[in-house]
Symmetry: C2
Subunit: 396 residues, 2 copies
């Protein structure tokens, strides 16, 4: 029987030997446990050639167990912790990744969709608790002022209503969402694609420290791991699977943010996109999501987001509508009478009835109503409009 | 047996006695013909009290046949013509209005959905021919610079590709769509809610003259008729039913333009909306259309519009995508090798293979490929990246 430390050590070693998300490794761990899976792989008995080659190449770089042991020590020195499925704080939603089948263009990276083997976590909240009521807010690094504004507002609105904001650690939308949540005193979680001791980008180092103070920094990669480009895409599945829903704020046509959106759709989780000017390259990705996937929902603010992810009866968006107008309550006849009023001067009841196409008795009744609403007045020369600054005639 | 002139005269009189679109009148005309329907109504035998009252009120204002006769003379003087369902140029699509049932909020105005009894038309194109390949471009009067730009582009793009643009005559989106079509030398049709001799708004009078020169001015109301507010909503059904599809460019939450969108959806006709900044009140209506009606399609430009209304195989939108990158053609191994390259300095093949998690032989093969693509170079200290201005690491 292995000890808990041995099992954790094996998970770390496996994560190092093959990139996180590798399906064949996850299947071995499911079947044999992490310790036996590691033994088998180091024995050269990996189930496929590609994995065998990858393990041989990495092993040439160091003894996997020694590397894992070193990573554990380094984790302690960082004030971070390692979280595995054996821990109570392991997020249950990640299990859904096991069944994930990506559509069309993303089938190629299907092998990257297995659940993580372990996480490195910095911050005091239990991970599962932080993610229980959480929304991913993701988007472009090269965000516009518009996108940054929206992401900040969403981060603030979610944080203010007790929802956790989850994002990557990039400039642009990611950072704006975190900042918004922090400003609201909300909980925010940054899921990184490198070691927790390697703030990337460096320019966000102070932001990461603020996040770790009140929220969480999370990574599937051990301390020291570099932010290699494919890792961001592998990381994105955690953002999509670990949250209740995902909002894409701004994204170019082919980008990591739309990929996160696709993964959230495939989970499936509520997947939302914020529209923007069609003249903006940074909204091409969100518009394509909305066009290509009927399940992707257009959202314009935090109320719409809560409508998608909220528990029934909890969070509801008010219907969008114009300002109330006194004429809203009028029936068709009253409206016809009102519209038939001359713009200047008074008018007699019969003449008005003819213009309105309403009989005289009804016209008189409706005129009383309109008087009560102070829309018309009775004068010497007949009935006249009470002048208002609002133009009476609408086109479109 | 009535003459054609008598039948047309009766249609004009009926249009004047009850506002266009009144269902009970349309049903009588269908059953009895226009002459007998007029006789019956003037005899006080209208099928409902409301219509009876309306006819009595209007009749008090003048003899309906004399009014109609006068309207015919006025039409001639204007250089306009009257078009009825007896004419070859009557647009066939309008017949769909007969079956139109509006959803929810619009059920109240259900009585306004019968097909027109006749049109006043100014311009030389046959009406049906002009509308055969047509798209309605509608939206807010108080359009933003963004909306005006988009409407102009759509008008231009449609006109340029041989599609007729149809809109109202309002400031803002309507005028911009017409101007765009005119600039492209395209055909454009303005459907007015008042007499053709009463340009409304006056500020668009010169635009209306330009439209009449090469396109068409159309109205259901006789010369002299005022642009009363309810008429714009009644008019909108003609824009929705007379075209192949409708695009809403900018619209506030409760507006004539969203009403036209609802009517197009109910027809049903392809119904499209252009998104915009969620911070803009002028995009609230288009976003609500897209949120509330799964059949409303998000479009970002003329290519998307043609995809919705185009004959199969005729007009297709190219897929949105980012710029081609040399790394697009790389397989997973080549990409892993490339990503594992140090940012500065050279690296040996074995070290690189270990970092990439790819076996040495494959690494060598992929390095040859990367050399060919001038992404890496072989140097004294091993392989090195060819420096490019493009950042190597992407987040999000």
């Amino acid at each position: 029987m292995s000890t808990r430390e041995e099992r954790t050590l094996a998970r770390i070693a496996l994560t190092w030997l093959a990139e996180p998300g590798t399906r064949s490794v996850a299947r071995l761990v499911d079947r044999l446990g992490s310790v036996a899976a590691l033994d088998l792989l180091l024995d050269g008995r990996a189930p496929d050639e590609k994995l065998r080659a990858s393990i041989a190449a990495r092993s040439a770089d160091g003894d996997p167990r020694a590397v894992a042991y070193d990573a554990m020590a380094r984790t302690d020195r960082l004030g971070a912790r390692i979280v595995t499925p054996e821990d109570a704080e392991w997020p249950p939603g990640l299990a859904d990744l096991r069944e994930l089948r990506l559509p069309g263009a993303y089938r190629k990276v299907d092998t990257e969709t297995a659940p993580p083997l372990c996480f490195w976590v910095r911050g005091s909240w239990p991970l599962a608790e932080a993610l229980d009521r959480s929304v991913a807010v993701v988007g472009a690094r090269a965000a516009t002022g518009y996108g940054t504004h929206i992401a900040t507002e969403l981060g603030y609105g979610l944080g203010d209503r007790g929802w956790t904001v989850v994002s990557g650690g990039a400039f642009g939308i990611d950072a704006a969402a975190h900042r918004g949540a922090l400003t609201a005193g909300g909980l925010t979680v940054a899921v990184l694609a490198c070691g927790l001791d390697r703030p990337y980008p460096m320019g966000n180092a102070a932001l990461f420290d603020r996040i770790a103070d009140t929220g969480l920094l999370v990574s599937e990669w051990m301390p020291g791991a570099e932010p290699l480009r494919p890792r961001f895409l592998i990381r994105n599945r955690v953002i999509a699977a670990g949250t209740v829903g995902t909002v894409v704020v701004e994204a170019s046509a082919r980008s990591g943010a739309t990929q996160t959106g696709h993964r959230a759709l495939a989970m499936p989780r509520p997947t939302m996109a914020v529209p923007g000017p069609v003249t903006s390259a940074m909204s091409v990705g969100t518009h394509e999501l909305l066009r290509d996937y009927p399940k992707a929902r257009l959202v314009t603010g935090v109320a719409h987001v809560l409508e998608e992810v909220g528990r029934i009866g909890d969070d509801l968006a008010p219907p969008a509508r114009g300002p109330d107008r006194p004429t809203d309550a009028l029936d068709d006849d009253a409206r016809s009478v009102l519209e038939a009023m001359p713009r200047r001067g008074g008018v007699g009841v019969e003449r008005l009835a003819a213009r309105a196409g309403v009989d005289v008795r009804t016209t008189l009744r409706k005129l009383s109503l309109l008087e009560e609403l102070t829309l018309v007045v009775r004068r010497d020369d007949g009935y006249a409009l009470v002048s208002t600054p609002r133009p009476r005639r609408a086109t479109t």
